[in-house]
């Protein structure tokens, strides 16, 4: 049995790969047969010429035998396929317009999908570059995303995993480069980090656990490849050179591998990798939670076993110290499945955004495919006669469908390859972009097997979407009229596959456009939303101080800096503060039990907290509702005072005027007197619900100032004062980093999500509109061209131009109107979950977006119907009649 199977397979394979070989063999065999027949006849005494004639004539129809023999060989499906591929390719080459239109449509659709795919994969799923990532795990212990340095030491010393390392990308440090001090976000790591993770190094060497112990104040760093190239000159002599960080000299040990994906995930690419030390993190030896934990599994250890081991180790440590906060392991995941290190909430938000993007780009592909399908159906109708002939002489429907699908395959393939090209161009662009955010991010998009797999999936999806409907509709025809080239009367069948397709296409485009509209509206909405403080005429100077230096007086520096800035021409007023709303340093959020004068017992209060200096509110034009601002006299040693916002007063003082009342938090001694109430404003995001806020005088709480700001209100355009302000401040503390920008530019970060959303969705929505308009135009003009003779008869019988135009436009209006209405209905459902991305005050059922979409489509549809209709009525009846 096996022999036979091998024989059969070999036979089929040979006839497949040696395409014409089998046919040639057959010819040779038949010739040999005829020759032998001839020999025999000659042997019987017949003349050779006559013998040859007889031998050939008795042989019979060679062509039919060839066909039958081919069928007998049992490979007709594959052979037909290669023939169809060739035939379809030739056919498409003869119709360059179809080819170009389909290629553009599918390229745009496929390109969008591939770009979103590569972005999402890079941003969320790309495995960090480490040695054997499958052995690495990330985990949280005792309810915290971060663990204290002591906790890391204890866990690493325990026998739970092979090794445990910690890292932090939350601190800033100051890099002095000549006269300039720049704030960098470093990757601060435990001494054993490189030993455990095996992050690759391109030049020099990583530091080892033995030499980089935090207790020994290690003064060594590695720099990222991009930082080395762009900021340090890219010279390999850099190894062993010093670099000044936070005022101390460090030795550059090595340069990391280029295009490195860091263990922090989310494309975060710190410029500098330094071992943790007291001089970089003064609170290192305190219980403060500093590092995120990574571990390497022991050989053969499973994820579950590792989790149990870490859990037990953490609880054992807890019992030792008697601290109930040692609650064991949480969120124990392998590192290469998903670097969702910022926690499930951020992941949900980012993931949600990409799911949305994915859906939108799929919709664009759907529209593109509907276009191509429409073109193919039109082409099928033009080829009715050819198809009818093939059916009449015995071609089966499945053979014809196969041929149509093959055409779809070519279009899908060419389109997807072009889309891949678009994506590569897009990736080049994105890789070179610098995002306006304070976190160092590098995207390393690239073409890889997964992307090709995605492209292959897209090709097949497009074939299905573009090819099936045209194939079925073209081969379903009644033979006789088709052979006689009779046109089927259009009016007899209103709901043809093509018109249904168009309605569907308009529906999808409508949904897409409403979504795009919403995001564009959202962007303009956030631009005009009043955050509650001066944005247009304000400057922000950020000072990053180095802590732990002898003779440090950060408050003094801040006060002097504010005085200097206030004295500058063009500056109306200046103040210092430890936070600026809507930036990375937007203050903290607290929830505490409070005792408030005039309220019985204690109540839970939740509020945003910021420490600000004197004159802060008047500088940023925040209206004082009652009471007074902080003054220079509110210093340590004077009675504790606080200012709250209107929302705080409304929520916790039941509308009484709070000024003069006192407030105390449970577990703390300080009694705050409320001296003022200010107007509400935004704190963390523009879209947030109004928060209660509490402000404390920075001069009364000067401890632990690391990053602080001087804000200034300018007379005119703030960008003109950026340089003078920087010059005024930078000499005051040579170790501090100074970053000056306009308030609007400082708020870029909070506008970023809606900006990106608006840009991407706006682009996709616009593409959808263009594609849908294109398809609409093609369909309507095609329908009109088929009705030329009907129109001619009508005008010959005396129909007016206006009457005919109305007729043509009405048909289009029915199709498009139906699609738009359906789309608006679906959009109302689909956009509901978008509410989280929208600015406050903008509903997901925003009427402007819906009406705008409706109008846009009516205009496009009107144009698409009117242009060809105008041409149709110009046709002379005589010409048109002759045409049919």
């Amino acid at each position: 049995m096996l022999h036979r199977w091998i024989d059969m397979t070999r036979y089929r394979f040979r006839s497949l790969v040696q395409g014409g070989q089998a046919d040639a063999d057959l010819d040779r065999e038949l010739r040999s047969h005829i020759a032998q027949q001839e020999e025999e006849l000659v042997a019987r005494g017949i003349q050779r010429d006559e013998a040859h004639r007889q031998a050939v004539s008795t042989f019979g129809g060679v062509e039919r035998m060839r066909e039958e023999s081919r069928d007998a060989r049992g490979i007709s499906v594959l052979e037909n396929l290669t023939r169809d591929l060739r035939y379809a390719f030739r056919g498409l080459r003869r119709e360059p317009m179809l080819l170009v239109a389909a290629t553009i449509s599918i390229a745009v659709g496929a390109g969008g999908n591939l770009a979103v795919f590569s972005l999402a994969r890079e941003f969320m799923f790309a495995a960090p570059d480490v040695r054997r990532p499958e052995e690495l795990v990330q985990f949280r212990v005792s309810h915290g995303s971060h663990a204290s340095y002591q906790k890391w030491q204890d866990l690493d010393a325990s026998d739970a995993l092979a090794d445990i390392a910690g890292f932090s990308v939350e601190k800033e440090l100051n890099w002095r480069n000549g006269d300039q001090v720049t704030a960098l976000i470093p990757m601060l790591v435990t001494a054993n980090f490189f030993d455990v993770t095996g992050v690759p190094v391109a030049l020099g060497r990583p530091f080892t656990a033995a030499e980089a112990r935090a207790e020994d104040s290690p003064r060594m760093v590695l720099v990222s490849h991009a930082f080395w190239q762009n900021r340090l000159g890219g010279d390999s002599a850099i190894i062993g050179q010093p670099i000044t960080l936070n005022g101390d000299s460090y030795t550059i040990l090595g340069v990391l591998a280029p295009r490195l994906r860091s263990v922090a995930g989310f494309s975060i690419s710190p410029a500098v990798y330094a071992p943790l030390s007291r001089s970089l993190v003064p609170e290192l030896q305190t219980p403060a939670n500093i590092v995120r934990l990574l571990g390497r599994l022991k050989p053969g250890q499973t994820l579950a076993q590792a989790r149990t081991a870490v859990d037990a180790a953490d609880r054992r440590l807890g019992r030792l110290i008697g601290d109930t906060l040692y609650a064991g392991a949480q969120e124990f995941t392998s590192l290469n499945t998903l670097v969702g290190a910022s926690g499930p909430k951020a992941l949900k938000m980012v993931g949600g955004f990409f799911v949305l993007l994915g859906l939108v780009s799929l919709m664009v592909l759907l529209i593109a495919c509907a276009n191509v399908a429409g073109l193919l159906i039109a082409r099928g109708t033009r080829r009715r006669q050819e198809i009818a002939i093939r059916l009449a002489i015995g071609g089966t429907r499945s053979r014809l469908v196969q041929q149509f699908l093959v055409e779809g395959f070519w279009l899908a393939l060419i389109g997807t390859v072009a889309g891949l090209g678009l994506t590569v161009a897009f990736m080049k662009l994105v890789n070179s972009l610098t995002l306006p955010i304070p976190v160092p991010m590098e995207l390393h998009l690239g073409v890889d097997p997964a992307m090709f797999a995605a492209a292959v999936v897209l090709v097949f999806l497009s074939i299905l979407l573009c090819g099936v409907l045209p194939a079925l509709s073209a081969t379903r025809l009644s033979l006789v009229p088709a052979l006689k080239r009779e046109e089927r009367f259009v009016a007899t069948r209103r709901f043809t596959a093509r018109s249904m397709l168009l309605t569907g296409q308009v529906t999808v485009s409508t949904v897409l456009l409403v979504t795009a509209f919403l995001f564009i509206r959202n962007l303009s909405h956030t631009q005009v939303t009043d955050p509650g403080f001066e944005v247009n005429r304000a400057l922000v100077a950020q000072l990053g101080f180095v802590r732990g230096l002898p003779g440090e007086d950060h408050i003094g520096v801040l006060q002097r800096a504010t005085e200097r800035v206030a004295a500058l021409p063009g500056i109306e007023q200046a103040a210092f503060t430890s936070s600026v709303p809507l930036t990375m340093h937007g203050g903290s959020t607290s929830g505490l039990m409070a005792h408030i004068d005039g309220v019985d017992g204690s109540q839970h209060v939740q509020f945003a907290r910021s420490n600000v200096g004197p004159g802060y509110f008047s500088t940023l034009n925040v209206r004082l509702t009652s009471g007074r601002e902080f003054q220079a006299s509110d210093v340590v040693g004077t009675p504790a005072v606080t200012i709250i916002n209107d929302e705080f007063a409304r929520k916790y003082f039941n509308g009484r005027n709070p000024v003069g009342n006192r407030m105390r938090f449970e577990g703390r001694d300080t009694v705050y007197e409320i001296v003022g109430v200010v107007a509400n404003g935004k704190h963390v995001t523009l879209g947030e619900d109004q928060r209660a806020a509490m402000y404390l005088p920075l001069l009364q709480h000067p401890e632990g100032v690391e990053v602080a700001f001087v804000v200034a209100r300018t007379r005119g355009d703030p960008s003109g004062s950026v340089v003078t302000v920087r010059n005024a401040i930078s000499e005051l503390d040579r170790s501090a980093s100074v970053q000056v920008e306009s308030m609007r530019s400082a708020l870029k970060f909070s506008l970023l999500p809606s900006r990106i959303g608006a840009a991407v969705l706006g682009t996709l929505g616009f593409l959808g509109l263009v594609l849908a308009a294109f398809g609409l135009y093609a369909l309507v003009s095609y329908n009109v061209s088929r009705r030329v003779s009907e129109i001619a008869i009508r005008s010959a019988l005396g129909a007016t131009r206006g009457g005919i135009l109305r007729l043509v436009v009405r048909d289009a209006a029915v199709l498009v109107g139906g699609g738009v209405l359906m789309g608006l209905g679906i959009a109302a459902l689909v956009t509901t979950p978008l509410a989280t991305f929208l600015a406050a005050g903008l509903s997901s059922k925003d009427p402007v977006s819906f009406v705008g979409t409706f109008i846009a489509f009516i205009v496009v549809a009107g144009l698409a119907a009117w242009l060809p209709a105008r041409q149709a009525v110009r046709v002379s009846p005589v010409v048109a009649m002759r045409q049919s």
Partner: protein, 108 residues
């Protein structure tokens, strides 16, 4: 008798049988069947070659190019092991069937 008059599928078994003793080329197979049947069965080329290729694709016979007795190139067919088994099965089935028909014709 024309091949179309043969009971369906009989041609295959005749071809297999003609190859049982030695390998032959197409022309010789037709001749052999014609001679063995006492000139009753005449195999048309139009049926012979598709049948040969069908048998080949089924793995029952194998083909190779060789010189024939007059030194001309010809495609020689040989029974495979599977072909031999198939021949035996079909012959015994045919014998059962024809015996049954004979009995029926005699006694019914």
């Amino acid at each position: 008798m024309r091949p179309s008059d043969l009971i369906q599928g009989t041609l295959d078994v005749l071809i297999l049988k003609s190859l049982a003793t030695e390998s032959r080329h197409g022309w010789a197979i037709a001749k052999r069947i014609q001679a063995a049947s006492g000139d009753v069965l005449q195999i048309k080329q139009g049926s012979l070659y598709p049948a040969l290729h069908r048998l080949e694709s089924q793995g029952l016979i194998r083909a190779e190019w060789k010189k024939n007795e007059t030194g001309r190139d010809a495609r020689f067919y040989t029974l495979t092991r599977a072909g031999r088994a198939q021949l035996q099965a079909e012959v015994s089935q045919w014998e059962r069937l024809s015996a049954a028909i004979q009995l029926t014709l005699k006694h019914a």
